[in-house]
Symmetry: C2
Subunit: 469 residues, 2 copies
């Protein structure tokens, strides 16, 4: 490709707006998990919505495709330009400001390139909570969170990214601007087009702005590390916890014994907490005021669970630093897996009531078909999301093993989940790594509609071709 | 039209499945507010999803259009077949069963024709709450609630109908079945097509089934009737209430002095509660357990508001019967308006922070342009939804006055709302009565997309033609 093709973009975006040297583009073309090295003629970095429109129009005129990119922290290659497709990366990283915040309306309006943690901090300055919270919050960006309908640690209480969105602004495939940025909790004015941009992975438009719901800051917390007895019934425990604590549970995370052991090994010693033979739970209640007796509520519930024989031991965090220590364990599991040679991550969703059956069936099948594999599973089981990870066996190469699992035993696991009413993608999405799964497991009528909507909004297939479909 | 045209439907649906006598079809062709008398060759009443598919296919073959109908309780004529269009009404009233309930997963699966109150009751039997709650809950049906993205009395805490939906099943324009009925809180598998069926008023498919989220029953409540001082700042009051009660506010309803007076007049005497010069509030907190000190929290907050001079007086319900009496006042306002000669209902949405400015500006403009009109406004102001109603002046005919307002001063009100970031339709929708408003106020890019989606899903325009577009 002649380098001059990029000149119109340089004119439009100015100095620093176009990256085309291999060294410069590297961080944008390598996916977060290092499973795919993409290829792009250039990374475009618009600083305004008008500049996004301009580069989309130019790309169309010059025959380039576009891959929208936020923080490039996705797990399924949804933001990675594909070799051979001549796709420009449009990075939103310079369209990253807070537009406004309305504390009395409990809403904030942000550029889509804003880093999630910065949006959380901007809300916190006003005593408000933006409850979307995930491992990559320090580098992921709101547009990506919306495009992938991000989940994370507090879905049980606050819902997915979709549930937090009131308004969306997006640049369409032809460069026109869709704007539906009202800060309204109710606005029934016909087909709600903006919903399409949530979870469609940048295939229908480039999200440039977003209005988010906020909540009062939850400054008071009670946090427990719980060791579970053999066969402890997770669904019943989760349901009792919700009922008996006035639904103030914001986190209910399962940590398997194996996952805890990985963190112990990486840290080189005991962590002061233990997993029972049923694993461990990290439970957190939160409230905006001190008068809610969170610790009492949590203790009373845990005592009941101990009496029922479900809980072996429970430790309440006695200080913010102990609380942080509990959380650090949960958050270090992915690193622990990495240190142990890596893992293949299966992102399972299940009706909460089917968790135990799933663990039993999937565990038995894996032991039969791949006896050399150890599991590390953990996750947001309060909302039915299990990160069910297969550790790379010693001596095996990670990428090759990943492909082997994905083409083989992963389907055994996915089919068990499907038969229980579950899904092969709780929060990661489809991207480029799970396209075949979508084709294999999706209802054909739904797929037909996904295609029809894509053709209606992006008839020439300019936006993120190769992702999802 | 030759009567024989209906024979294939009679064959498909059997005895009682097809109503075509004028006396039989009357309840289905007259809209809920008596503003429009529609016309239909027949009302079809399928008893199964397969029968819905069958009648959609037959209607296509025989050149009929279709208007899906639930409880026919809408306010904007969205379920009324239009004269001259040859539209069959497909009523879901015989596809109205609970399919299943999963208490450990906090979900229920229902036929779309199920009456909302029956779904609430089915959940309550398991100690669970279906929080969707509105005036017509005794006769409206879930499919209609979804098709219109119903709001109601608890949106502040639980969101709109969309926020309660996990799964949807719908019969498409060609009779094929779209099924996405997983009971999963997380399921990111590409463009979320099912979102399109929420709020699109039956123009994209006939919803036949739904999976809904449930919560623990909220059996403990604290309810207050609050008289507001002149100029009491509603947004600040709502925000303080949310913050100071750990966000356990499930209802925050404004009742204007005029609205209360209408109820008093209808009941023929004082009601034991009063509105201050700033109107009155009905506030309710709720929780699933007794240990949350709801009354204390509410009292403490109200004391602060009295000290600030915002609240003149507040009465806490001392018994369930007193609580019901407070609620009955709020729920009787529409009847009170009817008894006083009727009203033109403007369904305004605003950022909560803009409420006071709106009331001031709209009140002043109305006093100037239509000095003979008295207002009755009330509504779910905790989420920015104001039912801003103009009472029919004595001696005027209701329907004629309605048209006069809708073609004249209503726009003044809508424009004030729009300029403040608000909307002319918070929860009623567009239907057949607000089509011109959609054209007038909608962003043209959004309208283009609404049209493109309609053509993609219903290229021949069979479903609810005339509604919305």
């Amino acid at each position: 490709m002649p380098e001059t093709d990029l000149d119109p973009f340089r004119e439009a975006l100015g100095h620093g707006g176009v990256l085309s040297e291999a060294g410069e583009t590297e961080p944008y073309v390598l996916d977060h998990r290092g499973l795919m090295r993409g290829e792009t003629p250039a990374v475009l970095r618009p600083r305004s919505v008008a500049e996004v429109q301009e580069v989309v129009r130019l790309a169309g005129r010059l025959g380039f495709g576009i891959v929208p990119q936020g923080g490039n922290t996705g797990y399924v290659g949804g933001a990675t330009p594909e070799p051979g497709r001549r796709q420009l990366v449009v990075s939103l990283e310079r369209l990253a400001s807070l537009r406004s915040i309305d504390p009395l309306n409990f809403t904030m309006e942000c550029d889509a390139g804003m880093i999630l943690a910065q949006a959380q901090a901007a809300a916190a300055e006003h005593g408000l909570l933006l409850p979307l919270s995930l491992g990559s919050e320090g580098s992921c960006r709101l547009g990506g969170n919306l495009g992938t309908n991000a989940g994370g640690l507090q879905v049980l209480r606050y819902g997915m990214a979709r549930d937090l969105v009131l308004g969306i602004e997006a640049v369409l495939a032809d460069g026109s601007l869709f704007g539906d940025m009202r800060s309204l909790r109710k606005n029934n004015v016909g087909t709600d087009v903006k919903q399409l941009f949530v979870g469609s992975e940048g295939t229908l438009g480039i999200v440039t702005g977003v209005v988010l719901k906020l909540w009062p800051s939850q400054d008071y917390r009670a946090t427990a590390w719980v060791s579970l007895a053999e066969g402890a019934p997770l669904p019943e425990i989760a349901a009792r916890l919700r009922r008996e604590t006035a639904d103030l549970v914001s986190t209910f995370e399962l940590i398997s014994g194996n996952s805890l052991a990985l963190v112990e090994r990486m840290r080189g010693g005991a962590l002061g907490v233990a997993a029972g033979s049923g694993g461990a739970l990290l439970i957190e209640l939160s409230a905006s005021i001190e008068r809610i007796p969170l610790e009492e509520l949590l203790l009373a519930c845990l005592e009941g669970l101990m009496e029922a024989g479900y809980v072996e031991d429970a430790v309440l965090a006695q200080s913010e630093s102990q609380r942080r220590a509990f959380w650090a364990i949960r958050e270090t599991i992915p690193e622990g897996e990495k240190a142990a040679g890596g893992s293949v991550k299966l992102d399972i969703a299940l009706p909460v009531s089917a968790l135990a059956t799933f663990l039993e069936r999937a565990g038995a099948e894996l032991a039969r078909k791949m006896p050399e594999v150890r599991l590390s599973f953990y996750g947001h089981v309060g909302d039915g999301n299990l990160h069910y990870n297969l550790l790379v066996p010693e001596g095996r190469e990670r990428v090759a093993f990943t492909h082997e699992v994905n083409e083989g035993v992963a389907h055994t696991v996915y089919e068990i989940a499907r038969d229980l009413g579950g899904s092969y993608s709780a929060e990661y999405g489809i991207g480029r790594f799970k396209r075949d799964l979508l084709e294999r497991y999706a209802d054909p009528t739904r797929l037909t509609l996904v295609g029809a909507i894509k053709r209606a909004l992006d008839p020439e297939g300019r936006l993120n071709a190769g992702a999802m479909l």
